[in-house]
Amino acid sequence: MRKTADIVIIGGGISGVTIGYFLLKHGAKNVVLLERDYLTAGATGRCGAGIRQQWGAPLNCRMSQFSCEFFENAQDELDYAHGIEFHQGGYLMLATTENELEQTRKNVALQNSLGIASKMLSPEETKEIVPLLDTKKILAAAYHHKDGHLNPFHTTQAFANAFKRLGGEIYINTNVTGITTTQGKISGVDTEHGHIATTIVVNAAGGYSQAVAALAGVDLPLHSERHNILVTEPVEPMLSAMLMSFSLNFYCQQVPHGSFIMGRTCPDQPNDLRITADSSFLEAMAKTITDVLPSLKNLRILRQWAGLYNMSPDKHPIYDQIPQLPGFYLAAGFSGHGFMMAPATGLSMAELILGLEPTLPWKQLGFNRFQSGELLLESSVV
């Protein structure tokens, strides 16, 4: 393993590889990425990989617009033969309460003002898009035809390959066990395979970012939460759009390969780092989904698993340098939507670290907001 690097990224999820890629693209050199297990071992390999631009805060709209456009062109930009399976089958957000309907209308108006062509649909129009849907509880839905979902494994690999082509180095099966400092500044990382001297460390360890920060004695205002998800047997294509509803508490999609993937937020989840599967999720999920999509009742569940949401106080990520430890950067706290924002994460972190002019409003995502109390409000998070 190499002994020195200009920049060391900790974490081989979608955030780590996008940050690495954009750093090199913007001229950084000697960038090394360290991953404890293998690429996508964390939340990235466990997520629904739903992509949407339908948000309730301008910041998120901008970030997700940029990311979505990036994904549309990713195959060319990243030159990845297999493709990332970006299925733009649309994304439906179902409203079932008056409050939710009101909020959804406001969000669509905001999105339209920012150039996102989402629109409101009546229950009948919604059913035209998803014939499987039982609309009895549904008041209306917001729909954006360019949203969808993609394959998180191939997307991560596409970034990783591009990163390596630009000269980046990835070490998998390499646990970071310590972060060293000299005179209050970053001086290197200890790994199970040796020490790497560096003045810049990027913590992109997802649900484990608190643990990684603790290696440098830094306490982060983040915690991790277990979220369950399941997959069914593959069947003929019958659900093109991704479906979600805050009030009904679920999201569901059919991936190109034919399987249905679905998840919901369960109460009383441990917020330590446990990711064992929870059988109570299975029952609640089955009940929710067979209410909304009754014809799925004969579909067989194959597997369930869980992953960590890394939660921040306002459910927005933190992109910043740790104020008390120069050279220690953080990109975490994605609160369950870090996959779709990943290209924005990569670009923003590269601009932040390299001191470049911001393309995106990432300055709002620093630690400052917690001191000043200017938390970012977002109505559209699970």
Binding site: A41, L296, I301, L302, Q304
Partner: protein
């Protein structure tokens, strides 16, 4: 070893072989059956009582090597495929091994194929000398291999193109797997995620052992040092409607 991987230790293998004098005298059965299980067709099959009669059906077979003439009747009868016949002096340079072989297609006489070790790795080429297909019993294939391999070779593999499907649920071929291994996916979990192998209805029951063999060959690591990946609930697929109905009640 045996319990975990199905591969006996060297000591166990040595104990199954007759001494050198007997080996040199002519063909002889070698029974690699080490665990007491309720099974005795071998003893029943031998017309010469070279496999000593069992006092109890759980006995492990014991041989009187001097009575054995290497006829191979026991080879085709053993349901555990635990018996081979070895003729060390079949030719100047080669030994003959008679192996039980359950797969189809059967090899052809004269065909050159891969001789496999106990873990399924190809370790040499072997010529097929004879193919016996008894009714309702296991076919017996005779192959010629280098003499020093008699304690190693235990199966054969008919060379085939890499288009064979390994994961039938997701149509993943040997070539796909080899290409991903070459790209640096070096564990079952990684291969699963990138290819979807093992994620279909069979939950990996058919393909994971085959994938582990490919990994073992490519990484030059024994299968015992590899892991078969994370096993996820649920154990058996269930209909969403059934789970929902159950959830409603509880």
């Amino acid at each position: 070893m045996l319990e975990k991987t199905g591969v006996p230790t060297e000591t166990q293998i040595d104990s199954a072989f007759p001494n050198e004098t007997r080996l040199n005298e002519g063909p002889v059965a070698v029974i690699e059956c080490f665990q007491p299980i309720p099974c005795n067709p071998c003893a029943m099959a031998c017309p010469r009582q070279a496999i000593l009669p069992f006092a109890d059906i759980n006995d492990v077979p014991v041989m009187d090597n001097d009575k054995c003439n290497g006829c191979g009747l026991c080879v085709m009868k053993c349901p555990g495929l635990a018996i081979i016949v070895v003729d060390i002096n079949w030719s100047e340079t080669k030994a003959l091994i008679k192996l039980p072989y359950e797969f189809r297609p059967l090899p052809q006489k004269g065909q050159i194929l891969h001789a496999l070790d106990r873990e399924g790795h190809p370790i040499a080429n072997a010529e097929v000398i004879n193919v016996i297909v008894p009714a309702n019993k296991t076919p017996v294939i005779s192959i010629a291999v280098d003499k020093d391999l008699i304690k190693k070779v235990r199966n054969i593999c008919i060379p085939e193109d890499n288009d064979s499907i390994v994961c039938r649920c997701s149509d993943i071929t040997v070539a796909d797997i080899q290409s991903f291994i070459a790209q640096g996916y070096t564990s079952v979990d990684e291969l699963k995620r990138i290819t979807r192998l093992g994620m279909g209805a069979c939950q990996g029951r058919t393909c994971i052992p085959l994938v582990m063999r490919e990994l073992s060959t490519a990484l030059k690591k024994p299968i015992s040092e590899l892991t078969s990946g994370t096993h996820r609930p649920i154990v058996k697929s269930m209909k969403l409607g059934d789970v929902a109905a159950y959830g409603g009640k509880s």
